[in-house]
């Protein structure tokens, strides 16, 4: 193919110039783009570098002018102080507990609801689907007060329940995401299973779920991260210091030891690190999930 094309190009001088100009343009654009991307990339990384740098400095090195980028000597002790001056591991345990149960709850509830909204025909289904979508449009704060009052009436305020139990009743965003995914699975598969005498539940368990692993991974990942970093929820519902999550703990740390920047940066690094590691382990799922949830309507 390529060998055939070459002489053809030579035969038309006008084509060569177009090609050459396009190449030149592309080269120029490429260089410009590289420059732009490199500079902005640098400024995007700068806060991270500064965070880690600060977390390893002595107090004298932090409060100097002009600032020092590379700490010398490297003070690992800041990390030790960060995890001991606040009950770091208690906070970590609470955060993991809440995030973990949320992932479990979402993975139990959302596939079932999404299945009902996509693979079974029943009257009123589409109307209910729109209702689910509509709840997604409601800003979180609008629901904040009524849900707080409900949980208060149940006597759940001050426990983990308001932060965990709702996950077992589904989340509209993930129901929507999974429904969109289920719609793309051929109906022949479930028809064949029905003929073999499988119940709807068996179809969901043995046909749909194995096929939707990438979507489920996305849902689990997003749920975990959302709960890992949630601030407003724990702020409102948790009362006791022993129940605090990392988000809350970090904020309390800031107001209590405002100037202990090295330890604050160390604690922040410890909170950021797991998410970044998780991201690198699941990069493909992640980017897929973002574009998937953003575009496919």
């Amino acid at each position: 193919m390529i060998e055939q094309r070459k002489p053809a190009v030579h035969a038309h001088p006008s084509l060569i110039s177009v090609q050459a100009r396009r190449q030149l343009n592309r080269g120029l654009q490429g260089t410009l783009a590289h420059l732009l991307l490199f500079l902005t990339g640098l400024s995007f990384l700068m806060p991270f570098v500064w965070m880690i740098g600060t977390s390893l400095k002595t107090a004298e090195q932090i409060f100097v002018w002009p600032p020092i980028w590379v700490p010398n000597p490297v003070v690992w002790n800041n990390y030790y102080l960060a995890v001991t001056s606040i009950p770091f591991f208690t906070y970590l345990g609470n955060t993991l507990l809440i995030s973990g149960w949320n992932v479990v709850g979402i993975l139990i509830s959302c596939p079932m609801v999404a299945y009902g909204l996509s693979r079974i025909q029943w009257p009123g289904r589409d109307l209910l689907f729109y209702v689910v979508l509509a709840t997604m449009m409601l800003p979180y704060v609008v629901l904040l007060i009524p849900t707080f009052l409900i949980f208060n009436a149940l006597g759940w305020v001050g426990s983990f329940k308001p932060l965990i139990v709702p996950a077992f009743f589904g989340a509209p965003f993930f129901i929507f995401l999974l429904r969109q995914f289920y719609m793309t699975i051929p109906f022949d598969l479930s028809d064949a299973a029905t003929i073999d005498g499988a119940s709807e539940f068996a179809i969901l368990w043995e046909v749909i779920l194995p096929l939707s692993k990438p979507a489920l991974a996305t849902v689990a990942l997003f749920t975990f991260i959302a709960n890992w970093q949630d601030f407003l929820g724990p702020l409102i519902y948790l009362r006791d210091d022993s129940q605090y999550t990392l988000s809350l703990g970090l904020q309390r740390f800031l107001s209590a030891h405002g100037a202990a920047w090295a330890q604050l940066m160390a604690a922040s690094t410890l909170m950021v690190l797991p998410i970044i590691i998780l991201f690198f382990l699941t990069q493909r799922t992640f980017i897929q999930g973002i574009t998937f949830s953003g575009l496919k309507e």
């Binding site: 590289h34 991307l37 409060f63 609008v142 970093q229 601030f231 407003l232 922040s268």
Partner: protein, 217 residues
């Protein structure tokens, strides 16, 4: 205010990333990383970057011979500082834009090149029209999100200085959960909902004029 600015910024970044540059995966990762930083950690980190005496921003200003700024401690610069910070987390929008850009059929560009269209014309006649659905989506979600700014303002400035960063939700939180005026806070929530709803409807209405859906002909 941060919505148009971060949309524009992420659009340009996505365009640059779409030029099939080498190391695109690395760049994409770099831009995406900040969005993974939990909002509390981010607020604390930026508070430190903005630090008047020892912060990195003032040392950069010092390098180019400008006087240091108060950033979040000055009523005039507090809000712009938070907008600047919001530009750091455009990664998600960049990824969405990038996916949209890669969906634009290349044959359109080829046809335009044969017709002698330049880079600007290709941009205004192909790229932007084909991207309008994606722009609409990011505009709406960005708008709804920015109305709900809470965590950063709560931690970094707590509404101050001089109420310069007293965001709606922060005000609502204070009334509901600090002054225990649940009724007033509920009313505030409803008003916010109506404002968002009205704005969304307006954007959607006007979008009929400027959004182009490839599927409908």
């Amino acid at each position: 205010m941060s919505v148009p600015l971060s949309l524009l910024f992420s659009f340009f970044l996505a365009l640059a990333l779409n030029l099939k540059v080498r190391g695109m995966a690395a760049y994409r990762t770099i831009y995406f990383l900040p969005t993974l930083v939990p909002s509390v950690a981010m607020a604390i980190l930026w508070l430190w970057l903005f630090n008047t005496q020892y912060g990195i921003f003032n040392s950069l200003l010092h390098l180019v011979g400008l006087r240091p700024l108060g950033w979040v401690t000055n009523p005039k610069t507090a809000l712009p500082s938070l907008v600047l910070m919001s530009l750091w987390i455009v990664g998600q929008t960049v990824v969405i834009f990038l996916a949209g850009l890669q969906d634009v059929p290349t044959h359109l560009y080829e046809a335009a090149e044969i017709d002698g269209a330049g880079a600007v014309q290709k941009m205004t006649h192909i790229t932007i029209p084909m991207m309008t659905p994606v722009i609409l989506f990011t505009l709406l979600t960005g708008m709804i999100g920015s109305f709900q700014t809470f965590t950063q303002a709560y931690i970094m400035t707590n509404g101050g200085p001089a109420n310069a960063t007293l965001f709606y939700v922060l005000y609502l939180y204070r009334n509901g959960f600090q002054y225990i005026q649940m009724g007033y806070a509920s009313a505030l929530a409803w008003i916010l909902f109506v404002i968002i709803l009205v704005l969304t409807v307006i954007v959607l209405r006007t979008s009929r004029g400027w959004v182009y859906y490839g599927g409908l002909r």
